[in-house]
């Protein structure tokens, strides 16, 4: 895929809605298309966060192993992002992410994006704003889950 066609793919994803074309192109320069088979891990807890993924199709499950039981924390569907730990030191994954279905995605090189952020603050702020949204949303969802509202 060319930078142009990746840019176009990104523009169609909900997460990148409102991001200027110019920034999408910069991101596309750090990105490549990727596919995961059902059951394949996208990220593993404790590993270095070298990349992140935007889902085009399929579903990814964030999982945590506790007390010998694997719990699904949340599933993430098309148009969303898997992974934000690449943005915050020490750049290691907090959970496992497993393809719950076959997944077609775009994978980003984390170092490449971080370098662009450092050198171009306007781009960096835009990326940060978009990822803050993901972080806040995950936090909110966790809090609502904690409320155990159907009980």
């Amino acid at each position: 895929m060319t930078v142009q066609s990746i840019t176009q793919s990104l523009a169609e994803l909900r997460f990148f809605k409102d991001m200027p074309r110019e920034h999408l192109e910069m991101l596309a320069g750090c990105a490549s298309p990727v596919a995961f088979k059902k059951g394949e891990f996208l990220l593993l807890v404790g590993h270095e966060a070298t990349h992140f993924v935007a889902i085009r199709e399929g579903m990814v499950a964030l999982e945590m192993e506790a007390a010998n039981k694997i719990t699904t924390l949340q599933t993430i569907g098309e148009g969303s992002i898997v992974g934000w730990s690449w943005l915050v030191p020490p750049y290691t994954w907090h959970y496992d992410a497993r393809a719950a279905t076959p997944v077609s995605a775009i994978q980003f090189d984390a170092r490449c994006v971080r370098d662009l952020c450092e050198s171009n603050p306007a781009f960096g702020y835009d990326v940060l704003k978009h990822f803050s949204h993901v972080i806040v949303e995950r936090l909110m969802n966790t809090r609502i889950q904690l409320a155990d509202m159907y009980h």
């Binding site: 039981k69 699904t72 889950q145 509202m149 159907y150």
Partner: protein
């Protein structure tokens, strides 16, 4: 308008008697009763309305009607065991009797929704008061634009009406998205709170009408997501719960600001109650 049961008007505080024809376990803590009224009395209601059910010598509780509004020979209630009366109700067997008063309260806006994208959002047992709406939508599918059902439950085991949800999701003209708050790998569906379904649900916010039912906190977060997508408060309907005893607006318990939930609700257009919705202990 829906008081085919003449008893309600004349003696609004006195129940009639009905016999449990069938009793069905739905989930670990929920069950459905099918009740026939004495003397083959017909019963009709509007989706969203509720009855007061009385267990002999124990007490009375408001329970939403969860049957098909097109059938009038049986009254269906799905309820969850949460207290003394529902606990006793759970112990009733087929052939046992209970007291019924109703139907009471306001209805979901199934007519106002015609021609629109309809988004039905239910959390937990909140699917029960919305099931009559779903029956109605399926029966009159041509009157509506896109129909989307978003359903959130605690765990996969807590999902109500699994067969019906499966049947509806198999239809090409209905989209069903279910999610659970927690699950293990054996569950292959969505995991996450119900609000996560709203941003990606297929409806046009400008034309959509949403009906939301579940715990107040769940409705609070869902309304927030609907607002974010651009659905305005006058196109969002919620079903409120307060202590209801008389069901006819006389005993005072269900007051919610200017409203009596039993008679002005339980279904409210959100802008009618918006100013009080976030006030604590109101």
């Amino acid at each position: 308008m829906f008081m085919t049961n003449g008893q309600v008007a004349a003696r609004p505080m006195t129940p009639v008697v009905g016999r449990i024809r069938r009793r069905r376990r739905e989930t670990q803590d929920t069950f459905t009763l099918e009740i026939e009224l004495e003397k083959k009395r017909r019963f009709s209601f509007a989706p969203g309305q509720f009855n007061m059910l009385y267990v002999f010598g124990v007490g009375e509780v408001p329970i939403s009607i969860s049957g098909d509004p097109a059938e009038s020979d049986v009254v269906r209630h799905t309820t969850r065991e949460v207290g003394v009366v529902t606990g006793a109700m759970r112990g009733l067997k087929e052939g046992d009797y209970l007291g019924i008063r109703g139907p009471f309260g306001s209805a979901w806006p199934v007519e106002e929704a015609e021609g629109r994208d309809v988004v039905v959002i239910a959390g937990g047992i909140g699917l029960a008061p919305l099931r009559p709406v779903l029956y109605h939508l399926m029966d009159h599918r041509e009157r509506y634009n896109r129909v989307t059902i978003l359903y959130g439950a605690r765990t996969p085991e807590d999902i109500l009406y699994k067969q019906e949800l499966g049947r509806w999701s198999a239809r090409l003209d209905v989209e069903v998205f279910a999610t659970v708050d927690r699950a293990t790998r054996t569950w292959h569906g969505n995991v996450g709170v119900i609000t996560t379904l709203i941003p990606r649900a297929p409806f046009d916010p400008k034309n959509a009408l949403a009906m939301v039912c579940g715990p107040e906190i769940m409705m609070h977060f869902c309304v927030r997501e609907l607002h974010r997508r651009g659905v305005t408060s006058d196109r969002i309907f919620v079903s409120m719960e307060r202590n209801m005893q008389c069901a006819i607006g006389l005993c005072g318990h269900c007051q919610y600001g200017p409203h009596f939930v039993c008679k002005d609700g339980p279904v409210f257009r959100f802008d009618q109650i918006e100013e009080f919705f976030s006030v604590r202990e109101f």
